[in-house]
């Protein structure tokens, strides 16, 4: 296959993957989440490189299946490759995506992952995604999914989730 055709195939697969959503955050695509690392052409077919957010994230299997299903519409021989390195980080989530999270009631990761104070909630302010108050407190560093911590707002009293910065 000549280069322009392989390029077209990769682009077609990428377009298909634009519709694959994170099953735990169904308003965000796997691209926006930074889980889709690469799509390239190898041995006559496309290879989709995905990375898991957490070691045991059960969504990884579903995301692989959904991606394959979407890609095989344009490339029946598309393959999935799971890559562990470099390890996924919330630094790959863009500001625009963070705004989308907030609009959907989830406090987005704040700052960069190398700032360790963001790890455990010590000394950081996570504004309430509902009333925007900065008077909030962490209830638990763990939440409904591996990637979220549980918070509550002292002003509006609503519980909410914060996407952990890792």
């Amino acid at each position: 296959m000549i280069n322009s055709e392989s390029h077209k195939l990769v682009e077609a697969v990428k377009r298909q993957l634009n519709d694959v959503m994170d099953p735990e955050l169904p308003f965000l695509t796997i691209g926006e989440m930074g889980m889709l690392r690469d799509v390239y052409f190898s041995n006559g077919h496309s290879v989709i490189v995905l990375t898991p957010t957490y070691s045991g994230c059960p969504a990884t299997d579903i995301i692989s299946e959904d991606s394959l299903k979407a890609a095989r519409i344009v490339d029946p021989n598309a393959e999935i490759k799971i890559s562990m390195s470099p390890a996924w980080t919330t630094d790959w989530i863009s500001d625009e995506t963070r705004k989308k999270m907030e609009a959907n009631g989830i406090a987005p990761p704040i700052g960069q992952s190398h700032d360790r104070s963001f790890l455990t909630g010590d000394g950081k302010t996570v504004p309430c995604p509902l009333c925007k108050s900065s008077k909030t407190k962490m209830i638990s560093a763990f939440g409904s999914t591996a990637c979220k911590a549980s918070y509550t707002c002292i002003d509006c009293m609503e519980p909410f989730e914060h996407f952990k910065c890792i």
Binding site: S55, M84, A141
Partner: protein, 252 residues
């Protein structure tokens, strides 16, 4: 190190995570408060993911190829290579926290090395992901040690007893046999004597702040790395393995 030794090392790393994941999973629906039910099972899930990664690697080496599920569900206790500490029953919440605390502090140090070493890239990739998760686990177990140690007279007494009972399993983490020796010489594992002193320093700082004491004159127990386990592992595996062993090859 030889391929067989690497496989053995991967089984140890994987089994530590798998056995502790299963123990923590036993808390599902039983923890004292909802937040802890969620925390313990979240930690369990992280450990299970790490176990899968290590066991998948181990299954590809030496002998016939085995999947991570084969290794998890079709080995008897004698085939398991986990630390005795991790198979100990959940006991009360303080026992579970103390077991977790002793392991998290060890896991932090060893996994940092596994992530930074350049001898085996696949192990480094698994560890680089895991270290981000272990920091959360260690923070969680340390804060509970402080809370329980510095809490009421009852919580203090209970967590001190947990520490007294589990301390006998602590030296096994730093045991050096042929496999570990080869892994240390090969640069994959850190020097376990140095790990021990760093671990003791970390553990002592929390224990002291919590007003707790390390028991003395404890008869240390070993054997997990050779497959010589306490009877608790057999009981745990019977529950964990019953479905795939009763209906071999069954799928969802």
């Amino acid at each position: 190190m030889s391929e067989l030794q690497l496989k053995e090392l991967l089984l140890r790393l994987g089994d530590d995570c798998l056995v502790l994941a299963q123990r923590l999973g036993e808390w599902c629906g039983h923890a004292p408060i909802l937040e802890e039910d969620i925390a313990l099972t979240n930690i369990s899930l992280d450990l299970l993911g790490r176990a899968q990664n290590f066991l998948k690697m181990a299954g590809k080496l030496h002998d016939q190829v085995k999947s991570d599920d084969d290794l998890a569900f079709h080995r008897d206790p004698e085939g398991y290579r986990n630390l005795l500490l991790l198979e100990q029953p959940n006991g009360h919440f303080g026992d579970t926290i103390c077991r977790q605390f002793l392991f998290d502090q060890y896991s932090l140090i060893v996994t940092k090395h596994l992530a930074s070493q350049t001898i085996n890239e696949e192990i480094s990739a698994i560890a680089s992901k895991a270290i981000k998760e272990i920091r959360y686990h260690a923070d969680h177990s340390s804060k509970w040690m402080l809370r329980l140690g510095g809490g009421t007279a009852e919580s203090h007494e209970k967590i001190q007893n947990s520490l007294n009972n589990l301390w006998a399993f602590s030296d096994e983490m730093f045991e050096v046999d042929e496999v570990h020796s080869a892994a240390i010489d090969g640069g994959i594992l850190p020097d376990l004597q140095i790990v021990k002193s760093q671990w003791l320093e970390g553990v002592m700082s929390i224990i002291t702040e919590a007003g707790l004491e390390i028991p003395t004159g404890v008869d240390m127990k070993f054997g997990g790395r050779k497959g010589e386990h306490t009877p608790h592992l057999k009981e745990m595996l019977e529950v964990m393995q019953i479905l795939p062993r009763t209906y071999p090859g069954t799928t969802w």
